[in-house]
Symmetry: C2
Subunit: 328 residues, 2 copies
């Protein structure tokens, strides 16, 4: 049976490089290729379990996300997995359904698996449950000053949406949000950005917000839109804090005979697409998914290699307006 030395010899690299490769430590792309080829040729199978006992850490990264079932989250899951793969890590996928009990079970599991780290998109307060020897990178929610958090610049996003509606000539603005305990950390900041821009530019707007469960929210939003647009166009510029609400709004208004972008301009937030190869439907404030994923993996690697000093507690990544079919 082939040994690690055999692989190193055939690949023309040092045994240490092969070991790094197998342990998920970054290795030059050129060496990666050679090692991969040698492993394939020799059918070398390292004993991962034995290795884990020795290094006391696997190359598994636990990824916690509320659900993969939205365009944004499925894209983010895809990108994070591909970046982890490129860095020699494997992703254990964990859908938490936004339930703190499930999140805690996944964190417990990460400890049991001696995971290399956790990347989490969680809106619960997890601080008490993550131990200092388990690297954690958080997406969007700041868990603590000591834990690295990567987020889109939600505040600027809200401002950009207001500015775009302003520029496009909308006169009467509607801001649609759903502020609950779990969403206020991101939706709330988007709302604030939008409102600040409106105040600075003396723009009139109305805030529709209901702190309720999503299904109930859709019911209330539906009733509100029916009420306001029953006799024609009311608000002619709408920003919703997430694409799904923009999508829903566009649908309801279309059924009422009010069409975007002719009679009303609609902008959402996230900018995920249903199918990557298809045209964008809802105009949106695009989250920099590629960069968020890249930065998460980069920070995780930095923490693992002991470069804690370089990891900022909060990294805000720029967002931008993307044109769909709901604005001029």
């Amino acid at each position: 049976m082939a040994t690690m030395n055999d692989v190193a010899k055939l690949a023309g690299v040092s045994r240490g490089t092969v070991s790094n490769y197998i342990n998920g430590v970054t290795v030059k792309t050129e060496s990666q290729k050679k090692i991969r080829a040698a492993i394939a040729e020799l059918k070398y199978i390292p004993n991962t379990a034995a290795r884990q006992l020795k290094t006391s850490r696997s190359n598994l990264v636990v990824f916690i996300i509320p659900t993969t079932r939205t365009p944004l989250f499925s894209e983010l899951t895809y990108k994070v997995q591909q970046d982890l793969q490129a860095h020699g890590f494997k992703m254990i996928l964990c859908n938490s359904n936004n339930d703190i009990q499930e999140e805690l079970e996944y964190i417990q599991m990460a400890k049991m698996q001696k995971a290399a780290g956790i990347i989490t998109m969680s809106y619960s307060d997890l601080l008490a449950h993550v131990s200092s020897d388990l690297p954690v990178v958080s997406i969007e929610k700041q868990i603590a000053d000591t834990i690295s958090c990567i987020s889109a610049d939600n505040y600027q996003g809200g401002r950009i949406a207001a500015a775009q509606l302003h520029r496009s000539g909308a006169k009467k603005l509607l801001l649609v949000s759903r502020l609950t305990e779990k969403t206020k950390s991101n939706y709330g900041i988007r709302v604030r950005g939008f409102e600040d821009y409106c105040h600075e530019h003396q723009l009139d707007y109305y805030l529709f917000s209901a702190p309720v469960h999503e299904e109930e929210f859709y019911k209330q939003l539906d009733a509100f839109l029916h009420d306001r647009y029953a006799y024609g166009v009311d608000y002619d510029g709408i920003f919703t804090v997430a694409d799904q609400y923009a999508d829903f709004t566009e649908n309801v208004l279309r059924a009422l005979g009010v069409t975007a972008p002719k009679q009303v301009q609609i902008i959402g937030f996230d900018g995920g697409k249903m199918y990557p190869n298809q045209p964008r439907h809802i105009s949106s404030i695009r989250q920099p998914v590629d960069k968020i994923a890249m930065k998460c993996v980069e920070n995780l690697e930095k923490i693992l290699s002991g470069e804690k000093v370089d990891v900022a507690p909060l990294t805000l990544l720029p967002v931008k307006f993307v044109q769909g079919q709901t604005t001029n």
Copy 2:
């Protein structure tokens, strides 16, 4: 530090049951709850790596899918992960981008990790690369008679779509497919079901198909639709072998002033939704995602427990028509 015996005592179950639970063997739901509570209370952390050396198999299941970035695939990923979790397994997520090299790397990795098994949605010929001691369950593509395959009933789906258009009064049918080396195993069967129904009922239809890359396909489909609908409604009933093509078709026709369902009825295939809580846009033939996920995990468990005799080489699960906004 708490031991497995402590957990068994507190949970009021045998040590063997706790061991089964931790090793991913099915345990009664009632016992699962008690054990989980005891583990939480005692902060018991089993040494997973040591356990893996002993049992020579982890509770990790490798899930290979082309990409999580479509409504169907992100839903399937979600359901399989939740079912695996409920059965004590963890999912290692692998996006393959439909690339056989990546698929092979993931299979190699599954061997290295001593994975409990693989659930794969792959359109490559993987037979030579899976070893008999690594349980494999395939979704949709039959890899071999010896490997369990779970699929939606694509043939009946094609028939149901034709029958639905027929019943709704469409007179001139259009069938849209994209038959490539990788898609013929599923799209091809849907096409055949549709055609068989049409022949049996003497219905006229036209098959638009282009064996090209997806981006090129959209270009050709766009040109075709512009050509046929330039002077008004041509085909008044359309079935596309996947929802994304139906979505695209509806968009192009709407821009041409042809609206569904008034002037044309459109049915897709898959029935995934962009957001779970929102109304369905495209009428579709719905894949039984819940049942596919459940059956995959069930068959994997059967294989692991040695019940090979019960695992059928091919399980076809029924599909059904679901009403969206593109049919009457």
